[in-house]
Amino acid sequence: MTATGPARGGTLAGTGSLVRFMLRRDRVKLPSWILGISAFWLYYTRLVPQAYPTQSDLDAIVSMMGGPAGRMWTGPTYFLDNMTYETFIPAAYGGYLILVIVLMSILVMVRHTRVEEQTGRAELVRASVVGRHAPLTAALVVALIANGVVAALVALMMIADPIFATAGSLLFAAGCFTTGLAFAGLTAVIVQVTEYSRTATSLAAGAGLGLAFLIKGLGDMGHEHGTLLSWFSPMAWPQQTAPFVLDRWWPLALSLAFAVVTAALGYALSARRDVGAGLVAPRAGKARGAWWLGTPIGLAWRLERRAIMWWALGLGLLGMAMGAFAERAVPGEMPEALLQVLGGAEDIAAGYLAYMGIFMATIVAIYAVLAMQGMRAEETGGRGEPVLSTAVSRWSWLGANVLVGAIGVVIIMAVAGAATGLGAASALGDNALIWDVTAAHLNHVPPVLVVLGAAALLFGLLPRATGAAWAVVAYGFIVGTFGALMDLPEVAFDLSPFEHAARMPLEEFELAPVVGLLAVAAALTVAGLVGFRRRDLDVT
């Protein structure tokens, strides 16, 4: 026997154990995501044939889905020559399926890389027999497994469905898989840059996914098969395979190449930095706290202001693009169900802008949930303990965070509304729209506050389940986007907080729903405060 040096390939040592460990930690989260995504897809593949039972129903959608507005939201319309359920469903709804899958990939990656480093757990892991690249590799493997399982389920469900041909089903599922991987790779890069996991999530979901979605939307608006601009978005590639129409596989090579190149870049960057540090070196800061940094509200603002700024900027840009698009929302031979979503045929531009308000509210609700999850991270991360052992009550700590979250919601909605209005005003040549659309967006602030209140309630009563507030957002999104198509009963709409406010500028402002929603939001928040006052602080 001779003494051996460090084993070769040592930078990957321990990857297998880490993968098993991550899967074990995610034993509830990942299956929930995977089953939720599969159920979402199963639902839509079964729903459309029921919502549009005849070929003429289906053909009627073409005027809507086939226009630039439809393409912006769904993707290229390769199905136009041969409009069937098989060609239409993946094109119209596949983009959203992929969106959710990508979100899962991003969260998996951030959770197992940057969050671990930020909490210092990564240090403990890396100090044992674990190679330098093992944690990132393991996170990528877990993302690969999750995306693989989702894609396999999607493929199986479609193959089992007589509507879909096998070859196209496999291609479509492969597109889901490779796009999930592409964003896992992108996230592998982003987590190297910032040292704060919340910034990483916001960057990946906002700047990465949001920008990709925007570029694809703007690119696809230009032409029925997309334009050159579309090809700059990883979100466009799976749709450019045109499953069931052209069945071409080669665009997925772009996704795979993107995944490989970004992952490689992630490895390269991670080798250039220290554990726990970001690539952007922290600058020296102030030696003293600013005068306003001495109250729970001041602290909450200090922690949230950056996120609020980025959200406002991102949604402002999105709103500007979508507002400019109001011009193209011209009534045609739309199916009744779609007209319902946009509020009827009389003033389709106003209906479109009114729908934008609800859409933005649903997106800003994501911010509201993230803000409360950030609060939960403050608690479990041990930063709540020093604050609550000063003269700060439970009420004022949680209350301050809810208040700042609410202020953030108002700011983001106001900016998004003003930008959407600006875009619409410049496109339609009606400057009054700036104010109208801003007011319309602010009118949709109360439902977002209901989501914030629901998250606060969960934080107070069932802190481990704070993330369950996502369900309210998802439900509101599904009802708001597809509810009319699905022919849901009235009750289903009433249950969504987003469906109550008046659809300005199509309808007149109504005070009652605003007051009612604010009351619900306040009641939820107070219940959360009472619950938080009574429970133990979650400290380790």
Partner: protein, 307 residues
């Protein structure tokens, strides 16, 4: 003299684990009270109950005459706390965190804050994420010590500090004591407790098993003797209250129970003592006495396994 902290029969369960099991603790006004025990004995849980961060399942706790759970905010104005694991906001500087925590408590003495920053040699312009454990601890310490709190709850406050900073810490605590403030000092550093504490409570498995001044506690345990005698000293080993007798290099070494010291000294006198040293028990020995049986149990288990 009144008690600043008074708990009777505190019980706290985390699921099936009983963290506090009828804990009685009393800390008098103006004293530095050492709170000793190994990891997991319940020190941090006790402090968190006293801060109203955790709700005790049974028993009663009084802090500065108030109820730690119901009067938390009012009490916290008079308390400064340094957690054992200090977590800071990654994007706030140390200076910002010091000021923030101080102001949340109700204000801090700016001159004193600057003096402490200087003495503890902290760079307050660095972001929280870049601080080592020791530096994070300094941030919490400075913020606590720059306040005018009547009561300081310190949970292993210097675990990450170097000996120089340890010395600064001890000076500051002595100065606080001189000002009449009360300190509950949970610590692993026995030398620190031995030097600073007026009274000590030893906690084990969620219960206080011993409480008193170091002097009181010493009476509860054994004194170590080393003697050289002209006549063989082996007979000493047979006396009541004598333990661990060894004879090497012409020297006898043994431990004597406090109440038998007199009779042993009398017996030694008849043996022709050439040299004698006696050493009072160290705090370490005191602790080991309480945890000794636990260690014996552990060793026993190991022996069982070995068999």
């Amino acid at each position: 003299m009144t008690n600043v902290i008074e708990t009777t029969g505190l019980v706290k369960d985390f699921g099936k684990v009983r963290a506090l099991d009828g804990l009685d603790l009393s800390v008098a006004t103006g004293e530095v009270h050492g709170f000793l025990g190994p990891n997991g004995a319940g020190k941090t849980t006790t402090i968190r109950v006293l801060l109203g961060l955790l709700h005790a399942d049974a028993g009663k706790a009084t802090l500065l005459g108030g109820d730690p759970w119901n009067d938390a905010v009012a009490l916290h104005r008079r308390i400064a706390y340094v957690p054992g694991d200090v977590e800071l906001w990654p994007n706030l500087t140390g200076g910002e965190a010091i000021d923030l925590l101080g102001r949340l408590r109700g204000g801090l003495d700016r001159a004193r804050r600057d003096e402490l920053v200087e003495r503890f040699d902290l760079d307050p312009t660095k972001k929280g994420r870049t601080y080592s454990k020791g530096n994070r601890q300094k941030v919490a310490l400075i913020s606590a010590l720059a306040s005018d709190a009547e009561l300081l709850l310190l949970d292993e406050p210097t675990a990450g500090l170097d000996p120089l900073m340890e010395a600064v810490f001890q000076e500051v605590i002595r100065a606080m004591k001189a000002e009449g403030r009360t300190v509950l000092l949970s610590s692993h550093i026995l030398a620190q407790v031995e030097v600073l504490a007026d009274r000590i409570s030893i906690i084990r498995l969620g219960k206080v098993v011993e409480s008193g001044t170091l002097r009181d506690l010493r009476h509860l345990t054994r004194t170590t003797f080393t003697v050289e005698t002209t006549r063989p000293a082996d007979a000493i080993a047979q006396l009541p209250g004598v333990f661990n007798y060894e004879f090497t290099d012409g020297q006898a070494r043994f431990d004597v129970d406090a109440e038998h010291v007199g009779s042993v000294v009398e017996a030694l006198a008849t043996l022709g003592v050439r040299a004698i040293t006696s050493r009072p028990p160290t705090l370490e020995q005191l602790l080991l006495r309480h945890y000794g049986d636990e260690m014996a149990v552990h060793n026993g288990e190991r022996a069982e396994v070995a068999r």
